[in-house]
């Protein structure tokens, strides 16, 4: 079959479908406009879609889970399929999650896929954020969309934390205790904040479990979905940005029409994301709560960690020296505030402020539809790299206990050294990256694609001379 015939057949189907809808809604011109909508293409523009499709998998698997999960902290005795916990006193939430994992057909697949989707969701958002930042896509007119995206990132992190804390297993219970400590540590209103969420002193009342549940399955998903819709609209209105290239200007958008190529690619990506997540959900174990056991405030385990997207916080909490600000008989600023609250607040403040800051520094207040390569804006790339370095080192500190156990580097020594490195390395990275960007721009050769050397040829005399 020739390609022309193939396109024709597709066109026939499409046209018939459009006519079918138009006959009933009168929206043919609108539909045609949508189908012809142009998407600038670049593989890095697909990161946001990967995040979006992870969210779709989250919602789908999440709905399944809500049919079986019981969000109650009321105590019950475990009499289930897992012998080591026989007779143990556990919460109904934990017991229902055990039931999901052991007795519900496909329950463990859904649980694990749901959890993997959450981890990949935040990872994809992070990669997407880095692409946005380092290519300057947040510049006018898209700074408002950038703020929407950042807000979603914050919501997603809290949503994930709430999700895995619902199960009341040993690891997530410890995480909630720490979360409560961070809430308490807010100056002035910390105790009230903790009270508002937990309804009393930790571990809180049964109301806490219901609040957490409704937040996780309804409030946050609706908020995220709403912001997501706004986010997509704000992408579509001015059209997506594009990298510079032949035929591409600030005024046009060059790319692939929505139908059929982009639509197929997008749906294909949705299926690919789902494929990866469900395969992981079946083949790689995640959050095996039967191995952790139930949580009680008097229980803890060594080597406990939060999910990866909170790793920066555990790192900050471990690295922070024992500073606690007291005066007038009051503890004004307890220690967990610095690592658990101030650090993330400062990071997000930086992210929110950056578009305005950059405008101030460069004086560039114009509208931009063309993206910059990271090297084209050495200052931004250097600042972003430095901040990223800071965060990565703090992340690293969060798992330095495993580094010790694997490689023998003493834990206490790591803490001391990392406290210094975390301040010094970003500065070094800033200057190194800035210099690299400037040099790359001068040379105009691609670091990965272009040949870095020079061609030489042998002279009759035996030496070498460069090829003219």
């Amino acid at each position: 079959m020739s390609p022309e015939r193939a396109v024709e057949r597709r066109g026939g189907l499409t046209q018939r479908a459009v006519r079918w809808v138009d006959d009933r809604t009168g929206s043919a011109s609108g539909i045609r406009k949508v189908l012809r909508y142009v998407f600038p293409d670049h593989w890095t523009f697909l990161f946001g879609e990967i995040a979006l499709y992870s969210f779709v998998v989250l919602v789908a698997t999440g709905i399944f889970l809500t049919f079986f999960f019981e969000p109650s902290t009321a105590k019950t005795t475990y009499h289930g399929a897992y012998a080591p916990l026989e007779g143990a006193t556990v919460s109904k939430a934990f017991a229902s999650a055990m039931n999901l994992s052991f007795d519900v057909r496909g329950g463990l697949l859904m649980r694990q896929t749901h959890h993997w989707a959450a981890l990949v969701f935040v990872a994809a958002i992070t990669v997407h954020l880095m692409r946005i930042f380092f290519t300057g896509a947040f510049r006018k007119p898209r700074d408002i969309n950038y703020y929407v995206g950042l807000t979603m990132l914050m919501l997603v992190i809290v949503e994930g934390y709430a999700g895995y804390s619902l199960l009341d297993d040993l690891l997530s219970g410890m995480g909630l205790a720490i979360g409560n400590a961070v809430a308490l540590s807010f100056p002035i209103f910390g105790a009230d904040l903790s009270n508002l969420i937990w309804d009393g002193q930790f571990p809180g009342s049964d109301a806490f479990a219901s609040r957490l549940f409704i937040a996780h399955v309804l409030i946050f998903p609706v908020l995220i979905a709403t912001l997501l819709t706004i986010h997509l609209i704000l992408v579509a209105l001015p059209h997506h940005t594009q990298f510079a290239g032949p035929g591409k200007t600030e005024r046009n958008a060059v790319g692939t029409p929505l139908w059929p190529v982009y639509a197929f690619r997008s749906i294909g990506l949705l299926l690919a994301v789902s494929a990866v997540l469900f395969t992981l959900g079946g083949l790689v174990q995640i959050n095996p709560i039967w191995q952790w056991g139930p949580y009680d405030p008097f229980r803890s385990t060594n080597a406990a960690q939060p999910d990866w997207y909170l790793g920066w916080l555990i790192g900050a909490l471990r690295l922070m020296p024992p500073l606690e600000i007291r005066a007038f008989g009051s503890t004004l600023v307890p220690n967990p505030f610095f690592g658990g609250a101030l650090f993330p607040m400062l990071l997000f403040a930086f992210l929110y402020a950056w578009p305005a800051l950059e405008r101030r520094i460069t004086g560039d207040r114009g509208l931009h539809n063309l993206l910059e390569r990271p090297r084209d804006n050495p200052l931004r790339t250097a600042v972003g790299s430095a901040v990223l370095t800071f965060c990565l080192i703090v992340f690293f500190a969060g798992s330095s206990d495993r580094i010790f156990l694997q490689f023998g580097i003493p834990y206490e020594g790591q803490v001391v050294v990392l406290r210094v490195v975390v301040l010094v390395a970003p500065v070094l990275v800033f200057f190194a990256v800035k210099r690299t960007c400037e040099e790359l721009r001068r040379g105009e050769s691609h670091p990965l694609r272009d040949f870095p050397g020079r061609v030489v040829r042998r002279t009759p005399g035996g030496g070498y001379e460069p090829e003219p």
Binding site: M1, E4, A6, R36, G106, Q112, P141, M174, I178, A181, S185, P187, A191, N195, G200, Q201, F202, P238, H239, R251, N252, A253, V254, P260, V261, Y262, A263, F264, R265, I267, L269, L271, A272, S274, A275, V276, F278, T279, G282, F298, S300, T301, A303, A304, I314, M320, P322, E324, S330, T331, P334, N335, P336, G339, R360, G363, R365, G366, L367, N369
Partner: protein
């Protein structure tokens, strides 16, 4: 092209087979790994079919489209000309001469903004009084003189039960074990090594010290008792928290010797009751758990 279409059809067929396999596996035991492979394969084959189609099957030439009016820059990319540019130049000028940047007008605006924000914040704070008072709850503790210590199985604790280098997690008799101030860690130390704070001389009969098990840093259970077999060749006895590795010295009133915790673990005075089991000889030396504004017992 024919081969391509056959290939895509083949992928779609494989996807269908995998979906059927999923149903079969679900019906016969629902093995998690089997389900994952089947569903993953079904999705992956379908994904491959669509992605290959999108890339190879359809004619796709890049199309250029004008962006909407509002998204078009006036003239050149980057720098603007006209009134907006003049404003930009003005602001740029202000940045270069910081002394002039703070004109009186801006000073007044800034000061008004600060005052307004502070007043607004101050007005909001009393809203906190609307909620139930947390204060008594955070100071509450079930420990007082005469309360007997029991272990996790609700058995009273005799000193002989705790080995020379042993420890036990203790609770007040008849109290919900999940109350934050309830759990204690009772450790057996060499009596001659004790160096408790002033006023606590009688708090550790036979070298048994009792501290709140809830870490004063972020609330995890302090469940790592460090107890050297040969004290002159190893670090001294300590209580370590597994979350952020705050380390407390039980011989010195659980003072912080490493890690981020900001204050010592509260200590409970012990005495040996008439039946030879451990009882509390008073109240905890301070509030338990992570610090907040009104934490008591901070030295």
């Amino acid at each position: 092209m024919r081969r391509l279409e056959l290939a895509i059809a083949g992928l779609l067929a494989c996807s269908a087979v995998a979906s059927i396999a999923f149903v079969v596996i679900y019906d016969s035991g629902a093995d998690t790994q089997g389900l994952g492979i089947a569903l993953g394969a079904a999705l992956a084959f379908l994904a491959a079919a669509l992605l290959i189609a999108s890339r190879k099957l359809f004619l796709s030439t890049p199309v250029a489209e004008e962006r909407p009016e509002f998204a078009q820059p006036p003239e050149d990319p980057g720098f603007t000309v006209g009134p907006a540019a003049e404003e930009a130049e003005e602001l740029a000028g202000e940045i270069e001469s910081p002394a002039e940047a703070i004109t009186r007008r801006r000073l007044l605006v800034a000061a008004a903004g600060a005052a307004g924000t502070a007043l607004g914040a101050a007005l909001v704070v009393p809203a906190a009084s609307l909620g139930p008072s947390l204060d008594d709850r955070l100071h509450r503790s079930p420990w007082r003189t005469g309360v007997r210590l029991v272990d996790e199985d609700d058995q009273p604790i005799a000193p002989a039960m705790i080995g020379e280098r042993g420890f036990v997690t203790a609770f007040p008799e008849g109290v919900d074990k999940r109350e934050l101030a309830a759990p204690l860690i009772v450790m057996h130390l060499n009596p001659s090594s004790l160096d408790l704070p002033a006023g606590r001389e009688g708090w550790a009969p036979q070298g048994l010290v009792a501290y709140s098990k809830i870490c004063t840093h972020a609330g995890c259970a302090v469940s790592i008792p460090r107890s050297p077999l040969y004290p002159d060749q190893a670090p001294r006895p300590a209580l370590v928290c597994p979350c952020h590795y705050s380390t407390f010295d039980p011989a010195k009133g659980a003072d912080v010797i490493f890690g981020p915790a900001g204050r010592a673990l509260p200590q409970l005075p012990l005495s040996i009751g008439s039946d030879g089991t451990l009882v509390a000889a008073g109240e905890l030396s301070g509030d338990v758990g992570p610090a907040w504004r009104g934490t008591r017992g901070v030295t």
